[in-house]
């Protein structure tokens, strides 16, 4: 394959600078196993992260991720390059996650939610793993802040949350967010502003001059 691959799998930490030249897309459309393996290696973690923030549950995120890549595998032949490959995949991911969330709400809105479904323990574990050189108090504080930030983010209405996640967590430019969500750029701006302001209000006691 004529695509530079030196970036490897670690690219998913900062969003993949995948070479989206037509040659790579052509390889995918031709059914190259190497190209698909590379696509998976680069996109599976960012897409999983994005989906997780929308569905707020690891098990559901796993199901949605599989559905997303099934659609990618099925639909790659119809990809005509109107948008970038990343935008196309993210659009599928947001669409699938939103559908899954809607159907989940329809199915479970009357059911009690188990405390085991919360992600707090894993957040604490992740914070502990990432902060081995910190004091227990700092670790606990960071874990608590993460939980609070996640809860605040989860409490946003889906339209605002999707925009905030794509902008603040995935780092997409306005234009790409508009393409992913199928919105006008102006709508993206206004939703982003509204979402940020709502988050600021929810987190006013945790962030700011005295806390940061």
């Amino acid at each position: 394959m004529g695509i530079a691959r030196s970036v490897g799998i670690t690219l998913d930490q900062t969003l993949p600078a995948v070479d989206e030249r037509a040659a790579f897309v052509a390889e995918l459309q031709a059914g190259s196993q190497d190209a698909f393996a590379y696509l998976l290696a680069v996109y599976q973690n960012p897409v999983f992260n994005l989906v997780w923030h929308i569905v707020e549950n690891s098990a559901d995120a796993s199901d949605v991720l599989q559905d997303v890549f099934v659609k990618v595998f099925k639909g790659i032949k119809g990809f005509n390059g109107d948008s970038s490959l990343r935008t196309w995949i993210y659009r599928i991911a947001v669409h699938e996650a939103s559908n899954h969330r809607r159907s989940w709400i329809r199915r479970h809105w009357r059911e009690p939610v188990s405390v085991d479904d919360t992600e707090s323990p894993s957040a604490v574990a992740a914070a502990e793993a990432a902060s081995r050189d910190r004091s227990p108090y700092q670790v606990f504080e960071q874990a608590e802040r993460e939980v609070v930030v996640k809860q605040a983010l989860a409490s946003l209405a889906p339209p605002y949350r999707a925009v905030v996640v794509l902008r603040e967590i995935e780092g997409l430019p306005y234009e790409e967010i508009a393409q992913v969500l199928g919105l006008a750029e102006g709508t993206v701006k206004s939703r982003l502003m509204r979402g940020r302001e709502l988050l600021r209000r929810k987190l006013a006691g945790y962030v700011g001059r005295d806390h940061v």
Binding site: D12, L40, N45, F48, Q66, A127, M193, L199
Partner: protein, 215 residues
């Protein structure tokens, strides 16, 4: 130039994303230089952004990554012929070792049985035809006179190549002649008759005539 805090706050989003025009940025900075409340709010906006970006990124669990790869492989190899071949291969693979073992065992058993059980023919090769008549292999020396017409006799030869008896068809039948014939036939060697290569009883017709050569 922005006049009020509300106007300024409508541009925070662009400001933190660095999308403001230079004039707007200058105007916002001017406002922030004296408005403590707006400055604090903007700091909170930036802090919220930092908190969001600092959230740990979710990674795909290894088992899910494996499932994705398997799914991908299935999708890519989803041609009927290939699927049939894979199914056939999967069905035959478990039988491969038992089948090989079975065939090897059968071959070894066959070789052992054939090596020890069956008799080995070490004698000379015999023409395998439907029927082979008995023949004289070596006739004993003839030291008696058969007269002018000679003696013609039929000798019965058993499967071991031994003469069981004989009958004189023509010639002298005197007791002295019969003694000579008994002795000669007793010391003669015959090759038995064969049926499908297997020795069996048969008859040999002998015509005896003494020939005297001078010299």
């Amino acid at each position: 130039m922005f006049e009020t805090c509300v106007e300024i706050r409508n541009h925070y989003s662009d400001y933190v994303d660095d999308l403001c025009s230079p004039e707007d940025r200058k105007s916002i900075r001017y406002h922030l230089s004296f408005c403590e409340v707006c400055r604090e709010q903007l700091e909170q906006w930036e802090a919220v952004g930092e908190e969001l970006r600092a959230l740990p990124r979710r990674r795909v669990p290894p088992d899910l990554a494996l499932r994705l790869r398997v799914q991908m492989s299935r999708r890519l190899n989803n041609t009927p012929l290939l699927a049939l071949w894979v199914r056939l291969e999967n069905a035959l693979k478990p039988l491969l070792i038992p089948a090989t073992g079975g065939v090897l065992t059968a071959v070894i058993t066959f070789c052992l049985m054939m090596g020890h059980g069956a008799p080995i023919n070490t004698g000379p090769d015999v023409t395998v035809e439907l029927v082979q008549p008995a023949r004289v292999q070596q006739l004993a020396p003839m030291d008696f006179n058969t007269g002018e017409n000679g003696v013609v006799l039929v000798t019965q030869v058993n499967a071991e190549g031994r003469a069981k008896g004989y009958r004189v068809l023509s010639g002298q039948g005197s007791p002295e002649m019969m003694q000579h014939l008994d002795r000669m036939i007793f010391f003669s060697v015959f090759r038995p008759a064969t049926l499908f290569g297997k020795p069996t009883d048969g008859e040999v017709v002998l015509s005896l005539r003494r020939i005297t050569v001078r010299g």
